[in-house]
């Protein structure tokens, strides 16, 4: 966010230099159809509770007495065919962040009988805030079966980068997007998740005009194992050329790298002093290398606090040192300082949440530069400055597989100069993230209860999350958290004993497993059918994700991360009983890529006297998987859920 504020500053500077030579265009107030009273039925769409008849965003960029500004109009018309549809569209929020002036707000409701109620401007209310704030109003006179229409024009600081969505969870009959700029400014556009493209339509040399229209855009719904936001149809755009400043492409990855480098990698004396002081507090010497950095990271992440809302003071290392909280940029600057202190090489990485946006290395749109990572090339490890639960080697899963901008400081003679490239952030394998179960089951005398001993071992994301939580929670909450690891297996578990048996929370071993061991009793695994006992053995592994409902799929498969589940279950069948159907345990479902098994569920068993041993290997080892092959992925996910239904019939001999 702070980074974005800087972007505005940057473009204002660059572009205002050139306004003298450019004709001043006049702001053209937006007009809507003033007498739009007739309500048109829209065929098949009428069966939809809610659809948009029109959704348009129009940008008019201009020089305004030396400032580069934009008049941005947002215009929507909804048809609301039921109560919920009306309630979800009758409250309008206009964000005022970056808004210089709200030029116009108009809204009206048109009932199915054609009655028009216009918004009373006195009923627009403001929610004031030091930094942003909002104007809000409710649509007046709206009825089910009618239309809701509004538009507003904001005079905003001229933006160099932008994104506009033209898909939602309701259908859109007509989506429109337009940009008008002074002749010297040339914008570039990329349309995502759609075949259409933005076209340039101007016929004069006074301005550039760009236009996009899409009709009948279907609704997109949330799906499991999917990146909903990143899958929505949208337009990314950027200012690519300014002819007054030369022919060179502007706002490139290289430009971004230089800017970010200056902001993040350079420190004044006071900041440098703070870096050294923090390094010394962790009792690490400058020659301790990676282990020194690990110790410092651990110290910071267990004693300091990341505050998303802190103002720009939080960008300074000396502020962080004396206050023990800071911003994302502040922490990144601190780690860069520490890395240099410990004599390591690094590359700064900027990327974004892949569930919101896929970073496109071929389109230098700085909107992808949202979050910081630091890459240590010598060790091939990443550090996430603001992920306080994770340590070097583990980064938030929403950034893996995404591309990023890698900024490497290179020494050229006496100067450090940032060299930028784009590259993909790797995905850890299923072996790096596991949740394994070792379960022994026996029975109480009357076969009323199952007696279960379980060892549950985590590695990776869950393990580190548990460790971080153990450090901050009060005892009662800690106990609840541990109990949950067992209650996941049996909601009715009566826990006799539960212990953490493996949890090395030291800086150097943070990436080692977290393991819980427990003894519990549960009745829920058992059903009776007269003298026969039904053991719901499938429920011993806890409820599994399923995709039984997913018949029509709209988006590719996107996993949160690769992961493995290995289980060993040993069941001691009571004397005098025999398992009638052990073969129902076996189940195999697999997806291969070449020779490599990327998705697997494999359950098998062996019998030794009264003891049944079950082994289940399950893993997911590729984060993205194409829509066309969705069914194969679904089969593996459902295999685990199918195994939940396995029931052993224990019959008296």
């Amino acid at each position: 966010m702070i980074f974005k504020a800087y972007k505005l500053f940057f473009c204002g500077l660059l572009l205002s230099m050139s306004f003298h030579s450019i004709a001043q265009a006049r702001y053209q107030p937006y007009e809507w159809e003033s007498e739009r009273r007739t309500l048109i039925e829209h065929g098949e769409f009428e069966s939809q509770p809610l659809y948009a008849i029109y959704q348009g965003v129009h940008y008019q960029y201009q020089y305004d007495y030396g400032d580069f500004v934009c008049y941005k109009t947002t215009h929507k018309i909804f048809k609301v065919n039921n109560e919920e549809a009306l309630q979800s569209t009758n409250r309008i929020y206009i964000p005022l962040r970056t808004t210089i002036e709200l030029k116009a707000v108009k809204a009206r409701a048109i009932t199915k009988d054609g009655k028009v109620t216009n918004l009373d401007q006195n009923n627009i209310k403001e929610l004031e805030d030091e930094e942003s704030g909002m104007k809000i109003f409710a649509i007046e006179g709206a009825e089910v079966g009618g239309e809701i229409e509004f538009y507003y024009t904001q005079k905003i600081v001229g933006n160099t980068f932008g994104v506009e969505y033209f898909q939602d969870d309701y259908p859109i009959l007509k989506a429109e997007f337009s940009v008008a700029t002074p002749e010297n400014l040339e914008y570039e556009f990329k349309v995502r998740n759609d075949e259409r493209s933005v076209v340039q339509t101007d016929t004069t040399d006074k301005e550039n005009r760009y236009h996009f229209i899409a009709e009948n855009v279907p609704a997109l719904y949330e799906e499991s194992f999917s990146a909903y936001h990143a899958s929505l149809k949208r337009i990314d755009f950027k200012l690519a050329y300014n002819s007054v400043a030369g022919k060179k492409r502007i706002n490139t990855w290289g430009d971004a790298g230089k800017r970010v480098y200056d902001q993040v990698c350079l420190r004044d004396k006071s900041d440098q002093k703070a870096v050294v002081s923090i390094a010394k507090q962790t009792r690490q010497t400058a020659d301790s290398g990676l282990s020194g950095l690990k110790a410092a990271e651990h110290f910071i992440k267990t004693n300091y606090y990341y505050d998303k809302q802190v103002n720009s003071d939080g960008d300074r290392v000396d502020f962080i040192k004396s206050n023990k909280f800071g911003s994302a940029r502040g922490y990144t600057r601190l780690y860069v300082g520490l890395i240099e202190y410990f004599g390591l090489n690094y590359e700064l990485v900027l990327s974004c949440d892949r569930f919101k946006m896929r970073f496109d290395p071929d389109f230098d749109n700085w909107n992808y530069l949202d979050d910081y990572l630091i890459y240590l090339p010598k060790f091939d490890l990443y550090l996430a400055p603001t992920a306080f639960s994770f340590r070097i080697g583990t980064i938030p899963s929403d950034m893996i597989t995404n591309y990023g901008l890698f900024i490497k400081p290179e020494q050229i003679q006496d100067f450090n100069y940032p060299v930028s490239r784009t590259d993909q952030i790797p995905e850890p394998t299923y072996k790096d993230n596991f949740d394994n179960l070792y379960i022994d089951v026996s029975f109480s005398d009357e076969l009323e209860n199952t007696l279960v001993h379980v060892r549950r071992s985590y590695l990776g994301y869950s393990a580190q999350y548990y460790k971080a939580s153990m450090m901050v929670l009060e005892d009662d909450r800690k106990k609840e958290m541990l109990d949950e690891t067992v209650k996941f297996l049996a909601l009715d578990a009566e826990i006799d004993k539960i212990n953490v048996i493996e949890s090395d929370m030291s800086a150097q071993n943070w990436d080692k497993p977290f393991t819980v061991e427990s003894d519990f009793r549960a009745k829920g695994y058992l059903q009776r059918a007269g003298n026969t006992v039904l053991l719901k053995v499938g429920q011993l592994i806890g409820p599994q994700s399923e995709m039984y409902q997913e018949t029509t799929r709209q988006t590719e498969v996107v996993n949160a991360y690769n992961r493995g589940y290995y289980r060993e279950i040993t069941i001691k069948i009571p004397e005098g009983y025999k398992v009638e159907n052990p073969e129902s345990i076996n189940l195999l479902e697999e997806v291969k890529s070449g020779d490599r098994s990327i998705y697997l569920f494999d359950a098998s068993h062996s019998i030794d006297g009264q003891v049944i041993k079950i082994k289940i290997d399950e893993w997911y080892d590729q984060v993205h998987y194409p829509l066309a092959d969705f069914e194969a992925f679904r089969k593996v996910v459902n295999a685990a859920a199918d195994w939940n239904k396995v029931t052993l019939v224990l019959k008296e001999i």
Partner: protein
């Protein structure tokens, strides 16, 4: 004891604490609170109430002090102060006290952010929140916070809660007031008598009342907890009256005073309005009885006026006129109440503006005749001595059913100069029923059948919210979840939904379904559990310190009819089971009828609030119920 000596002694005691070194202070608290990460040492508000000119003025000093005991207290850094149109806040001073060897170093909080408060259920809110971070907290640090609060109206004075998410060493709520004023101290939710109330007179002749609690343990809230104010010990100062120039001015000495004040909010309403009369004409001209007129008007408002909530100074109390609401087609609860009263009166019915507190508020008008009792407005209408509670903020609620959130509450009905207190009934479980009956056959490992769900009362109302959605997919998904049983392999093949729009008939969902891998076939035996609905089997209550609230009382009925496959015979049928307790009742019955086996299961959840002392009994009956649901019948494939 001589007062001077007493005060001196306190001062010395205070000095002694300060003379303690920070590490000694930390040690004393970690040994007293070994399980806590932080302890609130002081929570206090001292109100000064005085007569200025002819009016009352109330301001208060708020002070809070916390000590942090855990290794990494930085997660506690963030602080929030709320204010609203009625309680303005200023003079905020906040510090971190960082332990040194001999004393604490004081760090002042420099940056505070003032922003609007946004709550999902209120569209526009004049509430503000001031947020900031305590800097540099480490183990053994303290934070202190003080500010002034200005009450814009002495009838609206905050309540004070003696418990919080941290243990509190000393919580004090105090008022110092001029002797011409009469103040009542009201204590709620204090069954253990923790709150000490003391009255005194100051040296300069003013009066004071202090309410103090020492060593209040922390409150551990949980899902479906009753509201905070229903659980924690609470105090409230109510201004009864005051005397100026020999004249006694009543403030809030009884319900009459409160009603008198409230009446001023609705005084300007009910002006003649042709849009209202025209609409009423249209709505009731073909209606013969008063009840039909009432229903027609009530349903029209429910369907056509959208609920949008505003909290905006006195607008928080004063409704808009009915005609205005009619034009805008939206309003908050007051506006809904206002348009209803206008329309009903225009139709010649006896309708009244009515105030009420939702179930979140544990006190009634007779407990304390002040605005802390209510947070809601409805309209009431009396026909043939029967009261109708008309809360148009609740969509899909049929006439005769109050909204669930006001069940069992007492409302203040305004009848011009006079008023009446009327109780809203609690709707019995027998009216809020979900009945699901299915008939199915088994074949090749798969259950295939058809069924019908019938929803009445609140079961209809609350499901309607989920069945009327802005996307069909959402409705499909919800229907699947609502009907789902047997296992998550339950699939709805098709369904038909009727009755959602007509509030006077039940909602019906008829459907075809299948469940793969539901039953077991081994050798010549088939094992099938006819209790497909296994909900609330695992609702055991553990590690919980606060009561549980239930939205409404309800009954679920599930009927399963299994067609015995050709060539098979019934070998074993489980026994019938059942039990009745005050808050949970169940019964499971099996029967064979020719080629069908029928299982009928009914359970009733019969509490609105389940107290902590009832949890054991609840768990006991739920365990029995769970066991009873885990029985399978056995079929024998004799002919094979």
């Amino acid at each position: 004891m001589n007062k001077g000596v007493f005060l001196g002694f306190l001062w010395l005691a205070g000095l002694a604490t300060y003379a303690q070194k920070p590490d000694e202070v930390l040690l004393s608290y970690t040994s007293k609170y070994p399980l806590n990460n932080a302890v609130q040492l002081v929570k206090s508000e001292v109100i000064d109430l005085s007569i200025q000119g002819d009016s009352l003025v109330a301001n208060s000093d708020v002070y809070e002090e916390i000590i942090y005991l855990s290794d990494n207290p930085s997660g506690y850094s963030r602080e929030r102060i709320y204010s609203s149109g009625f309680t303005r806040v200023d003079n905020i001073e906040a510090y971190s006290l960082i332990p040194g060897k001999r004393k604490y170093d004081q760090l002042k909080v420099e940056n505070m952010k003032d922003s609007y408060e946004m709550e999902s259920f209120v569209f526009y809110d004049d509430g503000r929140e001031i947020t900031f971070n305590y800097p540099s907290l480490v183990k053994g640090s303290k934070s202190t916070l003080k500010y002034k609060r200005h009450y814009l109206d002495t009838r609206i004075i905050n309540m004070f809660f003696f418990q919080s998410y941290l243990p509190i060493e000393r919580a004090e709520y105090k008022i110092v007031y001029d002797p011409q004023i009469e103040v009542a101290a009201e204590i709620f939710n204090d069954p253990k008598g923790l709150v000490e109330v003391k009255r005194a007179t100051t040296k300069d002749g003013r009066k004071e009342i202090s309410c103090v609690v020492h060593n209040a343990p922390k409150i551990k809230l949980d899902h479906n907890s009753p509201s905070y104010q229903s659980i924690v010990p609470t105090a409230h100062f109510r201004v009864n009256s005051y005397q100026v120039k020999g004249k006694n001015n009543k403030v809030l000495s009884d319900v009459g005073d409160l009603h008198g004040w409230y009446s001023t909010f609705i005084a300007g309403l009910n002006q003649p309005d042709t849009t209202i009369t025209q609409l009423v004409e249209k709505l009731v001209n073909d209606k013969d009885t008063d009840l039909d007129k009432l229903k027609s008007i009530y349903y029209w408002v429910q369907e056509n006026i959208r609920y949008i909530a505003f909290e905006d100074g006195m607008r928080g109390f004063i409704p808009h006129a009915g005609g205005y609401v009619l034009e805008k087609r939206y309003g908050d609860c007051k506006d809904m109440s206002s348009i209803l009263v206008d329309l009903l009166r225009a139709a010649g019915l006896s309708a009244y503006h009515t105030w009420i507190g939702t179930r979140d508020i544990p006190y009634g008008y007779r407990d304390t005749p002040t605005p802390i009792v209510d947070n809601h407005m409805i309209a009431t209408c009396s026909i043939d001595d029967k009261w109708y509670f008309l809360d148009a903020t609740g969509s899909y609620t049929p006439l005769g059913l109050p909204t669930s959130m006001i069940q069992g509450k007492e409302c203040l009905v305004s009848k011009g100069e006079s008023y009446e207190l009327v109780s809203v009934p609690v709707i019995p479980a027998s009216e809020n029923v979900m009945r699901d009956s299915v008939s199915f056959r088994i074949e090749n490992g798969k259950v295939t059948g058809s069924g019908e769900v019938k929803l009445t009362g609140y079961a209809k109302v609350f499901n309607n919210y989920r069945l009327i959605k802005s996307s069909k997919k959402e409705v499909d998904d919800y229907v699947h979840r609502l009907l789902g049983k047997g296992s998550n392999k339950f699939l709805v093949d098709n369904y038909k939904l009727t009755g959602t729009k007509d509030l006077d008939v039940p909602t019906f969902i008829s459907y075809d379904f299948n469940i793969k891998d539901y039953y077991n076939e081994v050798g010549d035996k088939i094992y099938v559990n006819l209790i497909l609905d296994q909900s609330i089997l695992d609702d055991l209550i553990e590690n919980r310190e606060v009561p549980i609230e239930n939205e409404y009382l309800y009954t679920n009925e599930s009927i399963s009819v299994l067609q015995i496959p050709d060539g098979s015979t019934l070998e074993y049928l489980p026994d019938d089971e059942g039990e009745e307790t005050e808050f949970f009742t169940y019964s499971i019955k099996y029967a064979q009828d020719g080629n069908n086996v029928i299982a009928t299961k009914t359970f009733t959840v019969n509490y609105l609030t389940l107290g902590v002392d009832q949890f054991d009994e609840w768990n006991k009956v739920i365990k029995k119920y769970s066991k009873a649901c885990r029985n399978a019948l056995v079929l024998n494939k004799t002919n094979n």
